[in-house]
């Protein structure tokens, strides 16, 4: 039996080790060197790269942008996904059409989504502005004060449908008897939503919150095709900063130190969220 388990596990374990574990340890090793990514020389510098990170304004700004993007996404995406799921679960007409329309954007690559919204904000919406004779500011990617809002719109447009499906599956698995019992006890629709539906949805909430948070912390491809981290550095995420530092800036060692901090943060955030939310899950 053990041998059978081993046969099943080993291929995956090998791929996981080569693709993830080995690079992770290599990253750790490079992070204590001043390697430029090209030469054979990898001079050991101890913790100097990590110390420098705390003095690096660009690194701190990149983290600050990433945190704002993550918080914005986690709140907006969860709320919208849940609202859409509730609406679709209420038995409205054309349910399948709405569900498909909301889900389709997540099938598109984030690079394409970036292009779409770059064109939307720069060409399409300003053109509509002109037709209508209105004066809305749609140039969201062109200003450091509005670029975060623009990116949140693009990212939410892409992913709300995906998380909505998870909430929808959660809603459809809530036993009808619980709602009936609450109704008999005199609970109105709002009370039933907060005291029956939400507690029963906690496993789905855990999945969505952790998924959206870790996904947002890793944002990169959306930025490449839309803002390129700009204007200036206004939308430079931590991964974008790591990439430009390590590859374009030929500071592979320093960039590796940035990667290590990201891995640590991702692990911490995921662990805290899973632990916190699991406690709130109810079993039927």
């Amino acid at each position: 039996m053990f041998r059978q388990y081993l046969v099943l596990v080993i291929p995956g374990l090998i791929i996981f080790t080569i693709g993830l574990i080995v690079p992770l340890f290599l990253s750790l090793r490079y992070s204590v060197t001043s390697w430029d990514g090209m030469s054979a020389e990898k001079t050991f510098v101890g913790l100097k790269n990590y110390v420098n990170l705390f003095k690096d304004k660009e690194f701190i700004d990149a983290w600050w942008f990433t945190i704002k993007f993550t918080i914005g996404n986690t709140i907006i995406q969860n709320v919208l996904a849940l609202l859409f799921a509730v609406a679709l679960d209420s038995g409205i007409r054309w349910q399948k059409v709405y569900r498909t329309a909301l889900f389709v954007p997540c099938l598109i690559s984030a690079i394409i989504v970036g292009f779409i919204w770059l064109k939307m904000f720069s060409n399409v919406l300003p053109e509509i502005n002109e037709w209508l004779g209105t004066n809305f500011n749609f140039l969201l990617f062109g200003d450091s004060k509005t670029v975060l809002g623009g990116l949140l719109i693009a990212n939410n447009w892409q992913w709300v449908g995906y998380w909505m499906l998870i909430y929808l599956a959660g809603l459809q698995s809530v036993p009808g008897d619980l709602h009936e019992a609450a109704k008999v006890d005199g609970a109105n629709a709002v009370q039933r939503f907060f005291h029956v539906t939400i507690p029963m949805l906690t496993p789905a909430i855990t999945i969505c919150v952790v998924g959206i948070t870790t996904g947002s912390l890793k944002v990169y491809d959306l930025l490449v095709s839309s803002t390129k981290g700009g204007p200036g550095r206004a939308s430079t995420s931590i991964i974008y900063q790591t990439y430009t530092t390590a590859i374009n800036g030929r500071q592979y060692g320093y960039g590796s130190a940035m990667t290590v901090t990201l891995v640590v943060v991702l692990l911490m955030v995921a662990m805290i969220q899973v632990k916190g939310l699991r406690k709130k899950e109810v079993q039927v």
């Binding site: 090209m38 904000f121 720069s122 990617f141 450091s144 200036g232 550095r233 206004a234 430009t244």
Partner: protein, 416 residues
Amino acid sequence: MRKNMWYTLALTAAAVSALGLAAAAEDEPVTLTVLAGQSTTDAGIEDMIDEALAEKYPNITLEWECVDWGNDFQPKMQQYMQSGLPDIMIGKAQDVATYAPQGILAEIGAEYLDAGLDAARENVTIDGKTYGLVYNALYQGVYYNKDMFAENGWEVPKTQEDLQAIIDDCNAKGITPFASHMVDTWSIGNVTMQFMMNDVFNNDPTWGDKFRAGEVSFSDSEAAQTAYQYNKLIFDNTFENTFSLEQTDCDAKMVLGEAAMKVSGSWSIQNFLDIDENFNFGIFPFPNQTGDSKLIFEPNITIMTSASTEHQDAVNKVLEVLTTDKELAVEIYDYTKTAAMLKDVTPTFANPSQEDIDKYASEGMIVDVTLGNNQLVWGGFQEENAKDIAAWLQGDATFEDALAASDARVDASSAN
């Protein structure tokens, strides 16, 4: 006698079969890998090269990997330096200074270099060995709408005062003085190097070395600060949506007469002429503080070969086709709207700015920007500085912050 005859026959047979084998080896199919770091004008030339090569050497196939030079060439090179270089790499002249010292590039044979102009050889030669074959060149400066200049009685400006007078007149007449697309941070980096060339490097060609030695800095150098400040002059006199405007849209606005000038390079000509083949434009160097600005010349497509290729003969044949097939060369120059770097080859496309280029060339007022790009490298330095300049223009950082950020990046300012 009979024995000798058998010997002769045997020798002849051996010679014939050896020749046959050699010919067969020559015709053996070879696939060469090519990493092409392309400028916006270059996409498509790979098909032209394939076609010309297939005609002369049908046994050689090129396996192309075309990437954007600005964003992806350096990352790809770093990746291949770990796993093995492609047989041929196409980048810019400044790449030679980055990669040749690593010992990974092969020297280019004199027979191919001799087909090219001497002008660009200096900056691809290290310790007497030439590692790059420069194929074409771009010119950079201020493109201007000739008809608009004539209608308004504006002369080509030589000094900052002359330029300011045109800007003032434009603003008074409701014309946007400069077309620009600052959404592309590379365009900020590019124009900044143009400014640096005329205000800094023309006076001090080793400014970058002095910067690394701690003798000069952006925070202390008036000339470098002036070069940065020109970005503000452009920003204050361009389209309001410059940080949302892409190059094609920007070039279209220029052609449609919505702006009088554009600090740019030959890569804009392709768009200008695609939008309106009759667009009448010229070029002049962005005026510096001393009124002696030079037009900027940039060796562009530069062919480098791997020092460890297993197919040197085939690589040489590709170099031979590129340097001897004049029809191919003209086709590429006409398509990319760039200047020839091969001897006795002249592009046939109508370039209204050519007479300006010829004038500056005859006056010796042209300078090779590779000097500046080798002193202060693009990847990791110029492009990062451009982000800080953008942040300053956006009001997210002070001018002093932008200068200090450039100073702090000193370790990344050199390729080696």
